[in-house]
Symmetry: C2
Subunit: 404 residues, 2 copies
């Protein structure tokens, strides 16, 4: 049994979310063998049955993350090619009645998500996939927390308005925020329907929904946004998650705060810039993600390095300068962005970042909104903040510690 | 401009680990070369560089299909998880001028698609993928063919209106129809932008665009639609393609006709039926796709088999009966459908089928529209037909044989 029971019981260990390393290696090896045999297998089937067999791509290499555990899997599980965010609102009657509704909704969501992520999902469509590879997270918004007097981190609050914001309320906020991730959009479409049915039956109302995606690339590489640049290089180290991502020891230790921004990007406009100007705008090389002051992608950008003429190598308005952890005492947020494409003129980034204190995002965004060289190519169109609840054990329910 | 002193100590500065990181990259590369797999690479990077590396799924196993050849790759290449359909219109001035515009547009599309599908795409964003695995096809609509007197199959014609059709003209038809397929939506978003730019510069106007997807499953298996049933089981055998899919010997031998229908599905409604009723509606078992009269998925459904009480085993209004090739003298169409999910209440199937003569689709759809037990759960919302052009050699252009 390729598990690491001691680590898995220790929520401060990076493996706590359920990614036994040996398990991952075994799964990768099996997938590799399957991949090598796939073409021969396909050929054999074609010859034997004499029919076209439409052939989707091979399944991904990683093992699925379990639903149950001290922390929800959707925060640190490896990113997958497809995501769907779903927001719901709860009725506003009396605090006592609404607290009961919230309990009922969270129970229903817990059952639905646990079943969908299990090796034996109850839905016939999901059964056909073998494993759904679903990871998910459920969070509560600051408005609901205040209304119902929930035990959430004191730092949980709506974001301020930033210069240039063009937020659509119908795509923003919400009492409950879910993020689903899987290997493909098909799975998410089915699970999103199950989630909507479960939440609706329990009394919640859909508020907005947003799908996103990543390029399928070699595992271990940083995914790219639609500008073609790597996005997420300077995330915290797993050991730093305890300090920057997860709550302090206490009731919120296994929770975190998700900041979501739907950012429309002028993809064609940015692509029309000369290559060197694109790279000076970001502060990294496009091809390999290396900072303009470095030699490897994960070199820290040296925002103080100067050219012989005295100018900064990484320009004063470059994106990596303004987002540099050096300007925030070394604090890092865990960015897990996805691209979206809702129409030929509506493409961009679903910025999703996890942090202990959303004030960190506010500091960075205040710098970006006024000085970032990328700003002419970006428009923030939606925003949400949520306290991502601690996980739960089998038989338990998400949100067990919300009630003071 | 940062106000921190230039010698500010950065607690996360990894200078001491710099050499180790390069060593880690070398070690990771060696591990990859030794075939130990991507997870080992990822693990090595995580442990030695101390940074989160978001990890999308592994790349698919099959080799990419080349763009150039006698036939366009998008017709019979293995289906991939992501598709995008794009329709364009051409100006209507004089036949001579419009023919020149069409030539210019087809030249531009050929260059753009060939470059995007090559091992060395010119776009910096696509370069980062290594290979895009793009497959594509370009077709011309019946209206354009008539207007410009193009040499297309005589059978190319708009479809008639079927009972129950609720077609949106803004999502239907078009002078030019493209289908792009790739391993992920990210690639398609980038390529669709390149295509739109190229077509627009040459004089075409975007008409509609539609994205779709398949579940990522084991290669060689038939993909499922959002009802959870396998879709495409009874496609022609590759040897039958010459008879049913590709044109007869002559000018159109390397072309085919694409019939596209955007079919909204009442996914939740159908899922709410009892399992046996779902299977009698389709005529196949949901889990394995086996016809109700058979023991293996690829058994031909026996539409004449009866129960002891005299009723048909496959009911009279079952979907597989009404689509049975036995009712069309054995003729089969090559179905390559994709699911779509444009909103929680707008999900369904992008029916895409290739055939020599679109009258075949008309015959089948006339049966389905009036008698299919699935009809209450379906609504046809868009429609298009296109002559999929023969392929072209390197240096050539799609549509070389359109000019009579």
């Amino acid at each position: 049994m390729p598990t690491e029971p001691e680590n898995a019981q220790d929520p401060s260990h990076p493996a706590a979310a359920g990614f036994g390393r040996r398990g991952a290696l075994l799964a990768a090896g099996a997938a590799l063998a399957a991949g090598l045999g796939a073409a021969a297998d396909d050929l054999a089937r074609k010859e034997l049955t004499g029919r076209h067999h439409p052939t989707p791509a091979a399944p991904p290499a990683e093992a699925a993350a379990p639903f149950h555990g001290p922390r929800q899997a959707g925060v640190t599980a490896p990113q997958q090619p497809a995501t769907q965010l779903l927001a719901f609102d709860l009725p506003q009657t009396s605090a006592a009645a609404d607290r009961q509704t919230l309990r009922t909704v969270l129970d229903a969501l817990t059952r639905t998500l646990a079943a969908a992520a299990s090796d034996a999902p109850s839905d016939a469509r999901l059964q056909s996939l073998g494993t759904t590879r679903l990871t998910s997270l459920v969070g509560v918004g600051p408005g609901l927390a205040t209304r119902l007097g929930l035990d959430v981190p004191a730092a949980l609050a709506d974001l301020p308005t930033f210069p240039g914001d063009r937020l659509d309320p119908a795509r923003s906020g919400g009492d409950l925020l879910l993020q689903l991730c899987a290997a493909d959009r098909w799975t998410l479409t089915v699970v999103a329907e199950l989630v909507a049915t479960a939440a609706g039956s329990a009394g919640a109302t859909p508020r907005w929904s947003q799908s996103g995606f990543l390029p399928v690339t070699t595992p271990g590489t940083t995914p790219r946004n639609l500008f073609g640049f790597k996005d997420g290089t300077s995330n915290p180290a797993p050991a730093e998650d305890e300090q920057f991502v997860w709550g302090p020891p206490g009731a919120h230790h296994d929770g975190t705060v998700l900041v979501y921004r739907r950012i429309r990007m002028d993809v064609a406009g940015f692509a029309g810039l000369p290559a060197d100007q694109r790279e000076r705008t970001i502060g990294r090389r496009q091809g390999d993600g290396v900072p303009l002051t470095g030699t490897a992608e994960h070199d820290d950008p040296d925002i103080y390095a100067k050219n012989p003429d005295g100018s900064y190598v990484i320009p004063a308005n470059a994106h990596v300068r303004l987002t540099s952890p050096r300007l925030d005492g070394g604090t890092r947020m865990l960015r897990r962005g996805y691209s979206y494409d809702d129409a030929p003129t509506d493409r961009g980034l679903l910025f999703c970042a996890f942090m202990r204190d959303p004030a960190q995002f506010t500091r960075v965004q205040n710098r970006l909104a006024t000085r970032d060289a990328l700003t002419p190519y970006l428009q923030h169109q939606a925003s949400a903040v949520a306290y991502v609840l601690p996980g739960c054990a089998p038989g338990g329910s998400l949100g067990e510690r919300l009630w003071t």
